[in-house]
Subunit: 311 residues, 3 copies
C-alpha cells in the first residue's frame, strides 16, 4: 500500500522496537511485501534464504532480523528480532480494521445510475463507478475500487483477507492484508464469487473480463482484459493471467505463475506452473491438450499391452 | 419466454430497425434462442453456419442478418445488420431489469406455512409454494418459481444471469437472460448453491431432487426427478440430466449434453459428452468406472514396463 | 445430541408407536446415529446388515424393526415398523426447527470485543467467544458454538443441515440433523465456506485451523488443530482429519475416512480412503505423490511405446 505522504522513520521507530541502520532513505512512502515492492517502500524479510532478494529489490527500507548482511545498495535497515510481527504492527497502524456499521458506509462513493440492491454491504472508502449493478447480499470490504458498467451477482464477496500465514511453533500467524481489490470497467462477476484483496498490493480484474459463478481469485492476482473464467474456477494468490485467457469450469491455477495471452485451459485442468499463450491445455497437471488426449487414448490400451507383455 | 399475448410485428418494428419479409406469421407469442424455441416464437441467428438450423426450427419468425437464404418453411424474416443486438433489445423491452427495493418484493407470492428467514431477498413476481423454508441471506432473482415443501439453505442464489457472451472485436457482448428458474416440489438445495436462469427458456430442478452445498447449475439446465448431487458439483448450461442420476462431489458436467436415467458419476469426474443411463462412470474425461479403475491400476505398472522395454 | 436430563422411555412411547422390550436402561440421555453413539444414547437401525453393529455399540436403547435379533448386551429395544421415521420424530421433538426472527437471536451469547458486521444472521442458542470478527452476511444456524479469536469471512454459512437422505420407493426421505458445529479458538474461516452441522453429533474445527474461501466441510467431520485447507476444498461427511494436515486447492475428501497427522495432499487430488500421516499425496484417486509423478511422466511416453509395440 502507498502511504498518503512520506512517513519519517523516526515515527516508525515509535511503533516497532527496531534499531535503525541509516542508508538511502529516512522515510517511507509505502509498505509492501517482497513481490509487490516499489521504490520508496518498506519491505521485510525474516529468512536468510530471501535476504539477497529483498536487499536487491526496489525497497528503500528493509525490516530484517540480521545486522550483518551484504547490503550492496546501501538500503536503510530496520533491525528487528521478528520482522513479520513488526510488519504486521505497521499494517495494523496504517490500515486499521474498521468495522462496517451500516449497509453502505458513508465514506463509500457510488457513481451515477448505479443500482445497489437490497442486502448489499459496502465498506469504508469503497468506490463504485457509474452504471453498475450490485445484486443482493453482495459483501464489499473496505478500500475496494470498482469501475463503470460493472455487474456483480448476488452474495459475491469482494476484498476478503489474503490466505497467508506464517507457521510458528505455536500455530499459524496471520499476515495482515493492506492491499485492495480493483475491478476495471465492463467486468461482470457471477454469484458467489470470492476475490481476495492483495496482501500489500492490489488484486486486479482487467477491463471486460467475465467471471461465472463460484469463481475464486486469490490475493494479489492480476487478471488481464477480456478473460473468460467459467464456473468454479480457482486461482491461487499472485497469479498473473494475461489478456483474453479462457479458463473452463473447475480449472485450478497455482500461485505466483503466469498464463500467457489467449491461452485456453480446458475444464478441470490444474495449472502448476507458467503457461505460454496462444495454446490450448488440458490435464492435471496440464500439458498441451492434444498430447494429453493422445495419452488418454493410449492409457485405454495399456491394460491390454500389459497382458500381452506378461506372455 | 412466452409473451402474455400475441404481439404484432408492426410493434416489433418500432423497437428494432428491421426489414420485414412477410411469411407464416405476423405476430409472435414468445422470444427464444434456438435451443428452446417453440411455435409462435421469434428466434435469431447471426452466423451462416446456423441459418439452416434456425430456418427449419419451430420458430415462426426469424431475426437474421441475410435476406438471401433458403427458407423452405416460409418463415417470416426480420432482416437486421446485428440480430444479436436486436434480440437483446427485445429482451430488455419484454423483461426489463427491475431493481429490488425491498427484502421481499410486494409482487412476490408466498404460500402457506412457508418460512422466510432473515436477510432473504425475493425479487419481482417470484412465486414460492407452501411449507417451504428459505434460510437466511438467500437471494432469489425476479420471476423464479418454487413449488411446495422446498428447502433452500443459507446464502444460496437462485436465478442469476446466464453466463453467455458473444465475442466482438471490442470485447464480450452479453446476451441478456429472459428465462426463469423453476424448482419443483420436494426439492432441497444446500447452502451457497447457484442456479442460473435460462437465457430464454427455463432452468428446471425436478421434483424430489436434492443438491448438497456449493453446487452450480448453469442456465437452461433441465434436472430430472430424485437426483442427488453432492457438494461442489458444477453443471454447465443446457445440460439435461434425467431422473435418479447421482453425481458425487466435485463432478463437472459440460454444456448441452444428456445424462441418462439412473447414471452414477463418481467424485471429481468430468463429463464432456452425453452418457447412457444405468451405468457408473469415473474419470476426467469420464469412462465406464470399471474400465477406468483398470486403467489406473495398469498405470501404476507403467514405469516398470517402460524400464523393461528399454532393456 | 445429549438431552438436558435422563428422559424416561415411558415418555418416548408417547411420541412414537413402539413396543418396548425392556433391557439395560429405562431412560435415555441422548439420541445419536450409529457413528456417534455413546452410552446412555438411543440409536436406530433399520437394515439387518447393521443390526449387529448397532446391538454391540455403546447405545443403551435401540430403535429397531425386528424383535427377533441376537442381543448379547441385553439392550433395551424399541420395536418399530420404521425406525428411520420414528428417529426423525424424536429429533423433531428434542430439537424442533425454530425460525430466525431477528438478525441476532436474543438467545445467542456473544463474547467481549467480538465484532458482528452488518447483515450477519445468528440463530437460536448460538455461542460466540471473545475477540471474534464475523464479517458481513454470514449465516450461523441454531446451536453453533464458536470459540475465541475466531474470524469468519463474509457470506459463509455455518451449521446448515447434513446432506443425508434415505432412499424410499417414493423418493428421498431426509434424516433430520440435531448435531452442532463447534469451532475452536483461533480458527479463521474464509468467505463463502459451508460447514454443516452433524446429523446427531458435532462437526468440529480444531483450534488454530485455517480455511481459505469456498471450502466445504460435511456433517460430523472432525478436523484437527492447525490444519490448512486451501480454496475450494471439499470434505464429505464424517471424515476425520487429524492435526497439521494440509489440503491444497480443490482437493476432495470422501466420507467416513481418516487422514493422519501432518499429511499433505496436493491440489485437485481426490481422497477415496484413509491416508497415513507424515506423507505427501497426489492424484485422483490419490497415491504417494512421488509415485504419481512417475506415473505421469511414464504416461507421456506411452503413445510411443504403443507405436513401437505394434511393430
Amino acid at each position: 500500500m502507498q502511504l498518503p505522504y512520506p512517513y519519517p522513520l523516526s515515527e516508525i521507530k515509535k511503533l516497532i522496537p527496531v534499531k535503525i541502520i541509516t542508508g538511502k532513505s529516512d522515510n517511507i512512502t509505502g509498505i509492501n511485501e517482497i513481490h509487490k515492492v516499489v521504490e520508496g517502500d518498506l519491505s521485510f524479510v525474516d529468512h536468510p534464504k530471501y535476504y539477497d532478494k529483498c536487499l536487491t529489490s526496489a525497497a528503500s527500507v528493509v525490516l530484517i532480523n540480521s545486522e550483518t548482511v551484504d547490503n550492496p545498495q546501501g538500503k536503510t535497515l530496520l533491525i528487528s528480532d521478528d520482522p513479520f510481527r513488526d510488519y504486521n504492527v505497521l499494517v495494523r497502524h496504517f490500515r486499521p480494521f474498521i468495522p462496517i456499521q451500516h449497509n453502505i458506509s458513508p465514506t463509500a462513493k457510488i457513481g451515477e445510475n448505479t443500482i445497489i440492491q437490497t442486502g448489499v454491504v459496502i465498506g469504508e472508502k469503497v468506490q463504485i463507478g457509474n452504471n453498475c449493478i450490485i445484486h443482493p447480499n453482495v459483501s464489499i470490504y473496505n478500500h475496494t475500487q470498482i469501475g463503470d458498467n460493472v455487474i456483480i451477482h448476488a452474495n459475491t464477496v469482494i476484498g476478503a483477507d489474503a490466505f497467508y500465514f506464517k507457521r510458528r511453533p505455536e500455530g499459524y500467524d496471520k499476515m495482515l492484508s493492506c492491499g485492495r481489490v480493483i475491478i476495471e470497467d465492463d467486468v461482470e462477476i457471477g454469484a458467489l464469487c470470492t476475490i481476495d484483496k492483495g496482501v500489500s498490493g492490489d488484486t486486479i480484474i482487467g477491463q471486460g473480463t467475465k467471471l461465472d459463478n463460484q469463481v475464486h481469485i486469490g490475493h494479489g492476482c492480476v487478471i488481464g482484459k477480456n478473460c473468460l473464467f467459467a464456473a468454479q474456477v480457482g486461482v491461487a494468490g499472485k497469479a498473473h493471467i494475461k489478456d483474453n485467457v479462457i479458463l473452463w469450469g473447475q480449472v485450478g491455477v497455482s500461485k505466483s505463475l503466469t498464463i500467457g495471452e489467449n491461452a485456453v485451459v480446458l475444464a478441470q485442468s490444474g495449472v502448476p506452473k507458467s503457461l505460454e499463450g496462444n495454446r490450448t491445455y488440458f490435464g492435471s497437471p496440464v500439458g498441451d491438450a492434444r498430447s494429453k488426449m493422445k495419452e488418454i487414448a493410449a492409457l485405454k490400451q495399456l491394460p491390454d499391452l500389459l497382458k500381452r507383455s506378461r506372455k
